[in-house]
């Protein structure tokens, strides 16, 4: 017969104020198989824990039930106490008398009876508990960082500086991301390149970082501590070990009119190109879609120009496999562009720009070397209108969320314009000014008060061209809804920040969840902002939601700490609450029939095929096996299993059945 110890906690008055705890202890004490039942004011305190430890030894308990708060709060505490007394910690269970009972009911007879029932259920469950051992998995102490923007750069450097190896992959020919495209940064107006490029160089030179540019993740298999990443190294068509980065090939390339991605389409580049002068690595790749040789089979001027023979025409994409223990996703964001704002004429009128394009105009490394000039005719705009919330906070556009960074960068844009074009007039149409951040509000006030930017609260209905001017029709809601019409020379749309294209597919490759807008989902909105709900995969930066540079850097460092903490262990210990497929003695081996319905049901790819072989090596049967490193214990497979061959350890069908039956047997 079982010898169960039951310990009822008053939780100060949290439980005892509404539940008659003494009666609970008394009645449970009379249950079959209960050897000892007491109540105490603070079970989690040192004396409380001592009661449990002593009782385990004194009565030789083979199971413990603590009726107290939520197991989320103190299950580890009580399990540790039991383990110290020599009892397998998984033979200790908690009945939640606080959140599930005392906090949600009035003081009454029924409340006490419910508490008794809750404890009774757990007593019946504990009787069926089996000792479990926690799962240990080895850790590969090498991290994969996907995306080489500021988030990926920061995460890589932070992880590398803890002494662990990092593999950083970037899909473009250079690292740097959106931050390298920015002119000055709010709220201090320090030059983006000046603060970023040293970090880019540091990444390239760090002994612990292996950088793959022009590379994309092909697939990711495995589980926390033990991932296998297949990485596609796209053919650069240039041998980087011999290329000196002299740039002669770029100068001679005859295909010169390709819209430059780095300049957000405002400048052009060649087919063999380095995205920008400060690129890391500062060596070119050939864009095969636009290269004359790949298109028509002739040209090869770059090959003739190259002094060191670095052009590799026949180079193919290469797939490499890297083993890593953790992954940091830092794939960033994109901005809404062409054709999303027909009412604002974007894509039709050359002088209607996105915020990112304005950054390039204002940047010293941009197509106009930092002078604000109209793309249409090169004239300096005398009047400029900035439209905040272009797409953002607009359910009709399918983007109900706030893109967060636009208020600040619009203020910065207007400020930069006023600084660069003396006597220019700038107007900002806004819905609300969201300037939450250190020195942010002051920055916006400075734009309004010192730089005399005209802020109009209201939305713009339409932008159209008339006699070479852009007519901006909007409304001033602070002046009684008066209609406003401005003849502008340039219009800048603070377009919504959206998930990067391909983020959905990437999320599916990695088995991380994403929100309706394809941003990657954090494990908990408050307490686990850098974790995903796939163990070992972390998030950094705007791939999770639009965010500014300080926040991105903070998050990247947060993700790096999580990775470092993971790598501080040689082995990972996991709760053994995982699914297991039963195994029986031959000739049955298992009740599993090998239908693999569980495999289709499992969201974590944890189901493997196990071949049962005879002594002569012949295959007897193939059954399912659960990879305990991957399994998250969700139980979906249990529900799917037609032959009832899978159980969750610690929550077996038998245990849950016992709990339910304890209620029915009254």
């Amino acid at each position: 017969m079982s010898k169960i110890g039951v310990f009822i906690c008053h939780c100060g008055e949290n439980i005892s104020a509404t539940v008659d705890v003494e009666r609970v202890a008394r009645e449970i004490g009379g249950m079959e198989g209960v050897a000892h039942a007491i109540d105490y004011k603070y079970m989690c305190s040192d004396p409380g824990q001592t009661f449990i430890k002593e009782a385990v030894k004194k009565y030789g308990l083979d199971g413990v039930v603590v009726g107290a708060c939520s197991p989320r709060m103190h299950e580890p505490t009580f399990r540790r106490a039991c383990a110290e007394a020599g009892l397998n910690p998984y033979l200790c269970e908690m009945a939640n008398l606080r959140e599930h009972c005392s906090w949600v009911h009035e003081k009454s007879e029924e409340t006490t009876e419910k508490a008794i029932d809750l404890v009774k259920m757990l007593v019946e469950k504990v009787k069926k508990d089996k000792p479990l051992e926690s799962i240990k998995v080895p850790v590969t102490k090498r991290a994969l960082v996907i995306g080489g923007g500021i988030a990926g750069i920061q995460a890589s450097l932070d992880i590398a500086n803890t002494g662990h190896k990092v593999i950083l992959i970037e899909k473009d020919p250079s690292i740097g991301g959106h931050m390298s495209q920015l002119s000055e940064t709010f709220p201090t107006l320090d030059c983006s390149q000046c603060i970023l490029t040293p970090r880019m160089v540091e990444v390239a030179q760090h002994p612990n970082i292996k950088l793959y540019t022009y590379a994309e993740l092909e697939s990711l298999e495995g589980f926390i501590g033990n991932f296998k990443a297949r990485i596609r190294l796209k053919a650069k068509s240039v041998n980087y070990s011999t290329c000196t980065g002299c740039g002669a090939c770029i100068q001679k390339c005859p295909v010169k009119k390709i819209p430059s991605e780095f300049n957000a389409g405002l400048g052009t580049r060649t087919a063999i190109y380095v995205p920008f002068p400060q690129a890391v690595p500062n060596k070119p790749v050939i864009d095969r879609v636009n290269c004359n040789y790949y298109k028509r089979g002739a040209c090869k001027i770059c090959e003739k120009t190259c002094q060191v023979g670095s052009i590799e025409w026949d180079k193919e994409d290469e797939i490499i496999t890297e083993e890593v223990g953790a992954v940091v996703l830092a794939t960033g964001f994109d901005v809404k562009g062409a054709d999303f704002f027909p009412e604002y004429g974007y894509g039709k009128f050359k002088d209607v720009l996105t915020g990112l394009q304005f950054e390039r105009l204002a940047s010293a490394s941009g197509p106009t070397f930092g002078e604000i000039r109209r793309p249409s005719d090169g004239a300096i705009p005398k009047k400029i209108v900035f439209i905040a919330c272009a797409g953002s906070r607009d359910p009709a556009k399918g983007i109900p969320y706030c893109s967060k960074i636009c208020c600040m960068y619009t203020a910065k844009h207007a400020m930069l314009y006023q600084h660069k074009v003396h006597g220019g007039e700038s107007t900002v149409f806004y819905m609300d000014i969201r300037a939450g951040g250190k020195n942010y509000e002051e920055f916006v006030r400075r734009a309004i008060e010192e730089d005399t930017v005209n802020y109009i609260r209201g939305r713009v209905a339409r932008v159209y061209e008339k006699n070479g001017k852009l007519i901006v029709k909007g409304v001033d809601t602070l002046l009684g809804g008066q209609q406003v019409e401005i003849e502008a020379d340039m219009v800048v749309l603070a377009t919504a920040g959206v998930a990067n294209c391909g983020s959905e597919q990437l999320a599916q490759k990695l088995h991380v969840s994403y929100d309706p807008y394809h941003f990657f989902a954090e494990a908990h909105p408050k307490l686990k902002p850098v974790e995903t709900n796939t163990a070992g995969i972390f998030l950094a930066g705007a791939c999770q939601a639009p965010k500014d540079i300080p926040e991105t850097v903070g998050m990247a460092s947060g993700a790096a700490v999580k990775v470092a903490a993971l790598f501080s262990n040689d082995e990972l210990v996991r709760e053994p609450v995982v699914a297991v497929v039963n195994r029986l003695a031959p000739p049955l081996y298992s009740t599993c029939v090998g239908c693999f319905m569980c495999e289709t049901a499992c969201p974590y790819n944890a189901i493997e095929h196990e071949e049962i072989k005879g002594r002569d090596g012949s295959l007897i049967r193939t059954i399912a096996r659960v990879n305990e490193g991957l399994c998250q214990g969700c139980g979906t497979c249990v529900a799917f299993c037609r032959s009832k061959s899978i159980d969750i350890q610690g929550y077996t069908n038998e245990q849950v059945y016992a709990e339910v039956m304890s209620l029915l047997n009254d």
């Binding site: 027909p342 009709a396 339409r462 159209y464 008339k466």
Partner: protein, 279 residues
Amino acid sequence: MKIGYYPGCSLTGSSREYNESVVALAKALEIELVEIKDWNCCGATAAHVMNEELSLSLPARIMATAEEQGLTEVVVPCAACYNRLKMTQHELKDDDKRGRVTEILKMPYQGSLNIINVLQMLDVYGAENIKARVTSPFAHKVACYYGCLLVRPHSILQFDRVEDPQSMDSLIRVIGGSPMDWAFKTECCGAGFSVSRTDLVAKLSGNILKDAADRGAEAVVVACPMCQSNLDMRRGAINKTLVQPIDIPVIYITQAIGMALGIGATELGLKRHFVNVEL
């Protein structure tokens, strides 16, 4: 092809030419229009600002009648009627409102009808047909004017791109015309203020016509009787507000297509306009 037909009041009165051209075009495209028997007014602009129950009951009766007559799809050429029927359908998804309205109507209302406008009908049942039957291509530069009611509110109508609709433009392309890019596609013409504040309508409609004329439109093409009458019938008042009078005609999309298909001017009602149609 058989579709239910709700002409509405305008099409039997001030906008007879719209009705005539819809009917003539449907015939040419072998679309059989089955007019709802015993239809009533949709309540238009008056009812929904005066009395909610009335504004829902009038369109609900039309739809209930159509359902009773076994129709599943109804084409509604008038933009205001189309808007009111669609809005009512949406409102009556609420059980409470539906209960009240069926109580008033004393007849069952399913809400199962598919309500479409003329552009949708032409797109779904006609596009290929039209292309094959064009005899005299409509080689004109025109401004397609959608107005307010055809595309708004987008969340309920779910028709075309709300700020820059394209459906009429693509129909014009099918018949060989060149729709132009202009600024007043969905601006308000003044609508029902035509009678009470003709001055306002003259100003608003004037803005629309002026932009179309400035950009070299030979005609304005519409799919709403209210817009048409404001831009056409009020031309005298409009021209008084302008320095340069405008004489470009305002025709229905069904008339434009009818012309391309070689249907006669009388059949299309082209002689009923205030501003002469000489295209």
